[in-house]
C-alpha cells in the first residue's frame, strides 16, 4: 500500500516487512536476515502512513501475518461479496488500527520511485469515489421521491456510512490538525462532500413515502437545526481543540525538561560531587571543571561543525585530550576544515607533542590556533613560559623537537620553534592536499 499507485505491486517478501518493522517496534532488534519471519517477533498491526492512497489495511495485515498483500486483498474481496462481511471488517480494521510513519524503512531494497505527488493522486481517487457515491445517492433518492422502492433502509444507511467515511477518512492525527487548523480548501471540500452524502442518506430514511413539499420542509427544518447545533457547538469544539493542543505542547516541554534534567544529573551533578570530594586538590578541581565545561558546551552548542572524520574535529580532540591529561586549559581556535587523512593525522600528532610540551614546560595560558585553508594548514601553539635554554634541557626538548620537526618534514610540511620574550611558539605547516581532495 505504499507507493504502488499504478504500478503492479511487486511481490513483497514478508521478510522485507519484518526488517522494516523490527526497528520501530522491537527497538532492540537489528536484523538483516531475509528468510521466513520468526513467529515470536511478528510485527505489530500498524498501518503505513508514508505512502499510497489507500488506508493501508491490507498492507498492515499482510505484514502482520507475513503473507502476500495480494492474497489479503483477495480475501477481503471475497468476504465483501459474501454479504458485505469484508467491507465491514475492512472498515472496522481501518478505524481501529493505529498508523505510523514507516517511511522507506519498509522496503529498503525497493528502488526509490519518484512520487508522482501521492497527495494529488489521493485526491483524484477520493473525488472520484465521492462523485460516484453522490450519484448512487441520487439514484437511490429519485425512486424514493417518486414513491417507489420504499422498503430499502439498508442502502441509505450505507450511503450515510460512506459519507461519514469520506468526510473523516485519513483525517488521522497528522492530517486532522493541518486541515482543520490550516484551513486547506481541499479538506473542507471533502468534509462538505461527506456531510452532504450523510445528510442525503438521513433524509432518504426520514422522508420515505412523503411528498416533495414535506421533504422540503423537513430539509429546511433539519438545516436550521444543524446550523443551530453548529453555532452552539463550534466555540466549545474550538476550545476543546485548543486545550488539546496546549496539553500537547506542555507534554512536549515536560519531556524536554526531563531530558535536560537527566543529562544534567548524569554530567554536571556527578562532576560537582567529584569536585567536592577532591576540593583539596586544586589541579584535579580545575581539570574536572574544565572537562565538564567542555562536555556541557559541546552538548549545548553541538561542538565544532563537521564529522569526526574532519581535521578540525581531530585537532580539537587532541587539544581536549592534552587538557585532560594535565589540567592546564588550552585556548584552541580552529578556522576552516578539510577531510582527515594521513598528513592531517601527522599534523595532529605533532600538535599533540607541541601542546604537551607547552603544558609541561610553559605556563598558562596556552593558546593554539589552527588555520585550515586552501594554501595549506598552519598550526601555532604558544605558551607563556620562561622560554627555554637549549643548554639547560636539551635532551627532552630536543627529542620532542626532533619528533615534531621530523614528523612534519616527512609529510611535506615544516615545523619551527620560536623563542619569544615570554614563552615559546611552535609553528607547524602542511601543504594543501593534492588536487584539493584525496
Amino acid at each position: 500500500m505504499r507507493q504502488d499507485g499504478g504500478v503492479p505491486t511487486p511481490y513483497q517478501p514478508a521478510s522485507a516487512g519484518v526488517r522494516g518493522l523490527g526497528a520501530p517496534a522491537a527497538g532492540s532488534r537489528v536484523d538483516g536476515t531475509p528468510g521466513p519471519p520468526a513467529p515470536p517477533q511478528r510485527p505489530p498491526l500498524v498501518r503505513d502512513r508514508s505512502g499510497g492512497w489507500t488506508p493501508g489495511v491490507c498492507g498492515a495485515i499482510a505484514r502482520h501475518l507475513g503473507v502476500s498483500r495480494r492474497m489479503v486483498r483477495w480475501v477481503f474481496v471475497v468476504l465483501a461479496l459474501a454479504g458485505g462481511a469484508g467491507v465491514a471488517a475492512y472498515l472496522f480494521l481501518w478505524a481501529l488500527t493505529p498508523e505510523e510513519d514507516l517511511g522507506h524503512l519498509a522496503d529498503p531494497d525497493a528502488p526509490v520511485e519518484p512520487r508522482v505527488s501521492p497527495e494529488r493522486r489521493r485526491w483524484v481517487l477520493v473525488l472520484a469515489g465521492g462523485v460516484g457515491l453522490v450519484l448512487v445517492g441520487v439514484a437511490l433518492l429519485t425512486p424514493v421521491l417518486g414513491g417507489s422502492l420504499r422498503n430499502s433502509v439498508l442502502l441509505p444507511l450505507f450511503v450515510i456510512a460512506v459519507g461519514a467515511i469520506v468526510a473523516w477518512s485519513n483525517l488521522d492525527e497528522a492530517h486532522r490538525s493541518r486541515w482543520l487548523g490550516g484551513g486547506r480548501g481541499g479538506g473542507w471540500m471533502r468534509l462538505a462532500l461527506g456531510l452532504a452524502l450523510a445528510l442525503t442518506g438521513i433524509l432518504v430514511i426520514v422522508t420515505r413515502g412523503q411528498s416533495l413539499t414535506a421533504v422540503w420542509d423537513a430539509l429546511l427544518a433539519s438545516t436550521a437545526v444543524l446550523v443551530g447545533v453548529l453555532l452552539v457547538a463550534a466555540p466549545w469544539a474550538v476550545r476543546l481543540w485548543q486545550d488539546f493542543r496546549r496539553e500537547q505542547v506542555a507534554a512536549a516541554r515536560a519531556t524536554e525538561r526531563a531530558d535536560i534534567a537527566a543529562h544534567l544529573h548524569d554530567s554536571v551533578l556527578q562532576t560537582l560531587a567529584l569536585i567536592q570530594r577532591q576540593a583539596s586538590d586544586a589541579g584535579a578541581v580545575t581539570r574536572l571543571a574544565r572537562a565538564q565545561e567542555r562536555e556541557l558546551r559541546s552538548w549545548l552548542y553541538s561542538g565544532p561543525a563537521g564529522s569526526q572524520e574532519s581535521l578540525a574535529a581531530a585537532v580539537t580532540e587532541v587539544a581536549h585530550e592534552v587538557e585532560d591529561l594535565h589540567g592546564v586549559p588550552i585556548d584552541l581556535v580552529v578556522t576552516g576544515d578539510r577531510p582527515f587523512e594521513r598528513h592531517g593525522a601527522a599534523l595532529s600528532r605533532a600538535l599533540r607533542e607541541a601542546l604537551l610540551n607547552a603544558v609541561r614546560h610553559g605556563r598558562a595560558p596556552v593558546t593554539a590556533y589552527v588555520e585550515i585553508g586552501p594554501s595549506g594548514v598552519e598550526a601555532f601553539v604558544r605558551d607563556r613560559g620562561d622560554g627555554f635554554d637549549l643548554d639547560d634541557v636539551p635532551e627532552d626538548r630536543l627529542g620532542v623537537r626532533q619528533s615534531v620537526l621530523g614528523r612534519m618534514e616527512r609529510h611535506g610540511g615544516s615545523a619551527r620553534v620560536r623563542r619569544r620574550e615570554d614563552g615559546t611558539e611552535v609553528e607547524l605547516r602542511l601543504p594543501p592536499l593534492e588536487g584539493d581532495q584525496t
Binding site: 558546551r297 552548542y301 586549559p329 585556548d331 581556535v333 580552529v334 578556522t335 576552516g336 595560558p365 593558546t367 593554539a368 590556533y369 588555520e371 585550515i372 585553508g373 586552501p374 594554501s375 601555532f380 604558544r382 619569544r420 611558539e425
Partner: protein
Amino acid sequence: MTAPSGAPAGARTPIRVVLVDDHRMFRTGVRAELTEAMAGSAPVCEFVGEAPDVDSAVAVIRGEQPDVVLLDVHLPGGSGNGGVDVIRGCMGVDSRAGGPVRFLALSVSDAAEDVIAVIRAGARGYVTKTIGANDLVTAIRRVADGDAVFSPRLAGFVLDAFGAAAGEIAEVDEELDRLSAREREVMRLIARGYQYKEVAKELFISVKTVETHVSSVLRKLQLSSRHELTAWAMGRRLL
C-alpha cells in the same frame, strides 16, 4: 563601588562601569576580582551599577550614564534577545563624559551567532568569562577609549566568516565584505593569542595602528552584509 579615596590622583578619572549579568555570583566575583586587581594603584574603573535582566539594565544605564557596560549575551527579559535588547534599548544614551555608552560583551557562550549578533548590535568587543582580571581591566580601558576588543575566538570567527582563512582578501581597504591583507594578519595573530602589544611588535607597527585595524574589522563586522554574517546574526533572532 567604593573607590579607595586615598589613592593618588590618577591622570584620568575612573571609568564608570555598569555590570549586567543574570548571575549574582558572577557579578560579585567580577567586582571582587577587578577591585583586587586594581588595588594599590589608581583605580581604572569604578562600578556604578549592576542589573540582572534586560529591563533593569536599560533603566540603570539610562540613569547612571556609564562609560562602559559589561554585558552578558544571555539575559532574561526584554524581547528575548538578551544583550542585543539592552544595546538597542540604550540607543543614543551618552555617558556623563559625553561620549557614547560603550558595550563589552562578556559571555560563556561559544556559539558564533550569539557573539556576532551582539557585536552587530553595537558592542565594541567580546571576551569570554574566563578572562583574567588584568586582561579585563585592559579590555575595559580599551573599549572606553573607543577601541575594539577581540578575543582569540572572536578573531577566529571573523577569519572564518569573512573567508579570510580561505584566502579571500579585499583589494580595497574599504571593502566591507572582505578583510584587507593587513587586517587578516592582525586577526591571525590575535587568534594565535597575541596581545595587541605583541601584534604590533610582530608586524613592526605601532599599537595604535593595531587598534585602528581591529576597529576597522569591527566596523566591517557590524556593517557587512556578507551572507555568513547575516545568517549567523539572523539565526539567533529567528529562534
